[in-house]
């Protein structure tokens, strides 16, 4: 059983959790989830310190770090990922990334049917992700993307079955989904729109049992952006480029944005 510290700063909330991950699941030792919009750099480390104290553990006891890679606020995601790299490198322990939207879907584990998570991508766009839940399994049906809320709402309306909706973009676009999906839009209560320390650890456990956690190298872990910088997006539009999306989130040094 590995003692694992997990946190996410991709949304307005700072979520932290401490638990033991083993083959059969997560033994949660504690979690803190606080609503601190645009202030995660201020609150993340005090939250981790409180979490460790309340669980009567020290940072030196931790065997692995798990961090939410987004998608979410670019700066928010970078604060979490950078902090995680520092802790993992300083301790010499592995660092694993989980998808922030997966950690929101995880909160509905045990239900049946479709769950749609929409993260706030700012600029009138959302990060959509669709899941099929059955028993205690969660299957992700769509990849990472950024899209207009009305386009996502129309696609999900065409699925022909109810979708349980969650994610922090509902604060802005609940009416768009209600309008397009009618009765098929089922809104989760707002307290279930963000990841928690426990849900982050659960997503990590699912990857662990599937042997998909990755190599644990803090040097190579990167945020999930789904969009390039505005400067590079404008350049791609201008050049009519539609090449594959660079994994690093930066198109590259070439004059037309070579792909890494």
């Amino acid at each position: 059983m590995k003692l694992t510290l997990a946190f996410d700063t991709s949304t307005e909330e700072v979520a932290t959790g401490l638990g033991k991950i083993g083959t059969r699941g997560v033994h949660l030792l504690g979690e803190t989830n606080i609503d601190v919009p645009r202030a995660s750099l201020t609150h993340l480390f005090p939250a981790i310190t409180r979490l460790l104290q309340s669980a009567d553990r020290a940072i030196g006891d931790v065997d692995a770090i798990v961090v939410g890679r987004g998608p979410g606020s670019f700066t928010g995601v970078r604060i979490g990922v950078s902090a995680a790299k520092g802790i993992a490198q300083g301790r010499g322990v592995p660092l694993f990334g989980v998808n922030t939207l997966d950690a929101v879907a995880e909160r509905f584990s045990g239900r049946q049917g479709l769950v749609g998570v929409i993260g706030d991508a700012m600029r009138r766009e959302v990060y959509p992700a669709l899941y099929r839940l059955s028993g205690h399994t969660i299957e992700r049906l769509t990849g990472d993307a950024v899209a207009s809320p009305s386009v996502v709402a129309a696609e999900w309306a065409a699925l022909g079955e109810p979708v349980l909706l969650s994610g922090n973009a509902l604060r802005k676009y609940a009416d768009v989904f209600a309008g397009a999906m009618g009765d098929r839009a089922v809104f989760a209560p707002e307290v279930l729109w963000t990841p928690t320390g426990e849900s982050l650890l659960m997503v990590a456990w699912r990857s662990y049992v599937r042997d998909e956690l990755g190599d644990g190298d803090p040097g190579t872990l990167l945020p999930v952006y789904t969009r390039l910088s505005d400067a590079e997006e404008a350049e791609r539009v201008r050049d009519g480029s539609s090449g594959p999306w660079p994994r690093s989130g930066v198109a590259g040094p070439g004059p037309t944005g070579g792909v890494l």
Binding site: S82, K85, G86, G90
Partner: protein, 519 residues
């Protein structure tokens, strides 16, 4: 405590280059030392290693059965105690082992201590190379030993060995060595991510640079004509772990050997700063080490101290870069009064914008500087904004507009643009104002020392104009070497050492402060 002589290792390079810079007016670069190390068996380099860090080094080059002594340097605070003799003894022993016939070296006639040491070791003057030292125009004395196997030389070698025994009982007073701040032997890992360079450095005792790594992102920003903050932030996240690992590895230490952390927390691009601050807070939590927050501008001031350890306040500094243009009066370390600053564009920004208008690419500073060298600075009378105002503020956006307007007019009139003349005239307008305000600041404060720092201080014409103006007034001018002008973490480590000595550390809730002030 004692020092020991051992062969130079790659992990010593940072310290050796720092010592080279502190010792010689025309120092060898890091690249030159790396070239030396690649020369294989024709070279032998030695360092004097001690608990106080690397105290000196010397190199031997074998040429057709004879030996040339390359650089031999001893740290200022360790001189007169046999370190130089111990290095010389190691070189002599190596020469004997290789059966070399004789040894030769060049030395400045004005360096009496070195000449005395070499004479005691059996060297004598056999000629001069006129004007050998480019910085002062001084001749070099060429000294040779007799045949190494001869009796007089064997006696001289024995004398060197006796002197070298001094390194068994060294006493080094680090307080007396021009050190700023705490005299402790802290090992600081510093991190800098305020703009578009991801940098990390390891430094011992605020001065002994063990490594300095800078990952530049220029290529990713170049086609946009300036730094794109979102790209900068993304590249920092991608690079930071590797840059820190490399800094530790080049310093030859592990994170467990570090005694404090330092990070730039402002001023700069907020999205870029938070990467370094968040990462550094993570390291601090994981290791339990104190974390010091450093003002990037204070770092630039300390870059000068790294190059010239005897720099001390009071002084006036001109900090001039892509993000800053200001004159700062420093009566004492930690006490800063900004006397004036730009009201609009920073000087580096003006260079970038004019370069973009001329189609010269990014960054604009080096491109304009190269072109300007071939042009006439008096060709076009661009405005010298605020040169006659009584304050010490700058304004550069009007100049940039004047240049762009000039270019359009010439093009509309169907005339070919004389790029060198435009570059030279623009650069002269920038420099005239910088020099005029700098002189006024020095006169107002009666400062006897003047520093420049920041990326634009790499501009050779600006350096020369300021040097001339300050020399004319008998004011000492300090210009850091090029790799310390631009953003780096060595300067953050030096400033961090100073702040650590004052017990100033960041708590777990510390923020990045993009508009952090110096005073």
């Amino acid at each position: 405590m004692s020092a020991r002589i051992r062969p130079l290792a790659e992990s010593d390079l940072g310290r050796v280059v720092a010592l080279e810079r502190a010792t010689f007016p025309s120092p060898w670069t890091r690249g030159m030392f790396i070239d030396e190390m690649l020369q294989g068996s024709s070279r032998a380099w030695f360092v004097a290693d001690s608990p106080w860090g690397i105290l000196g080094y010397a190199g031997l080059m074998e040429v057709e059965g004879e030996g040339h002594i390359l650089n031999l340097a001893v740290r200022a605070d360790a001189r007169g105690q046999g370190v130089g003799s111990a290095l010389l003894a190691a070189v002599l022993a190596e020469a004997l082992r290789r059966n070399l016939e004789r040894l030769t070296l060049e030395v400045r006639p004005s360096n009496a201590a070195a000449r005395a040491m070499y004479e005691a070791a059996g060297f004598s003057e056999e000629g001069r190379r006129p004007g050998y030292y480019a910085d002062s125009g001084e001749d070099a004395l060429v000294m040779w030993t007799g045949p190494l196997a001869s009796e007089p030389m064997q006696a001289a070698i024995a004398r060197v060995g006796e002197r070298a025994a001094g390194i068994e009982r060294l006493a080094i007073d680090r307080d007396g060595s021009g050190l700023v701040g705490s005299p402790s032997d802290d090992v600081i890992l510093a991190i800098e991510t305020s703009c578009d360079e991801t940098a990390a450095a390891v430094m011992r005792g605020g001065r002994d640079l063990l490594s300095s790594v800078v990952a530049s992102q220029i290529d990713f920003h170049a086609r946009f004509g300036g730094v794109v903050p979102e790209i900068a932030s993304r590249k920092h996240v991608e690079a930071i772990s590797g840059v820190v690992d490399e800094a530790l590895s080049l310093a030859g230490i592990r994170i467990e050997d570090v005694t404090a952390l330092a990070v730039t927390y402002g001023p700069g691009l907020v999205g870029a700063l938070v990467v370094g601050v968040s990462y550094a807070k993570g390291l601090a939590l994981a290791t339990g080490l104190p974390l010091v927050g450093v003002n990037h501008l204070e770092g630039h001031l300390f870059a000068n101290v790294l190059a010239e350890p005897d720099i001390e306040p009071p002084f006036v500094a001109l900090l001039v870069s892509g993000g800053h243009t200001s004159l700062v009066h420093v009566p004492a370390w930690g006490e800063y009064h900004t006397m004036g600053s730009t009201l609009d564009d920073a000087a580096g920004e003006a260079f970038d914008k004019v370069a973009k208008a001329l189609g010269l690419g990014y960054p604009g500073g080096p491109a304009i500087s190269r072109l300007a060298a071939e042009g006439d600075p008096a060709a076009i009378p661009f405005p010298r904004a605020m040169i006659n105002t009584a304050d010490l503020d700058f304004s550069l956006s009007g100049l940039k507009t004047a240049v762009v307007t000039y270019i359009r007019k010439e093009q509309a009139a169907g005339r070919d643009l004389d790029l060198p003349d435009i570059a030279a005239s623009f650069q002269a307008a920038v420099i005239d104002v910088q020099v005029s305000k700098a002189v006024r600041a020095v006169v107002e404060t009666r400062a006897r020392t003047f520093l420049i720092g920041g990326g634009v201080s790499a501009n050779p014409a600006l350096r020369a104009a300021l040097a001339k103006a300050m020399d004319a007034r008998g004011v000492r001018i300090s210009v850091p070497p090029l790799d310390l002008c631009t953003d780096n973490a060595a300067m953050i480590a030096a400033a961090g050492h100073f702040r650590l000595g004052r017990g100033e550390t960041l708590g777990p809730s510390a923020e990045a402060v993009p508009d952090l002030r110096l005073d």
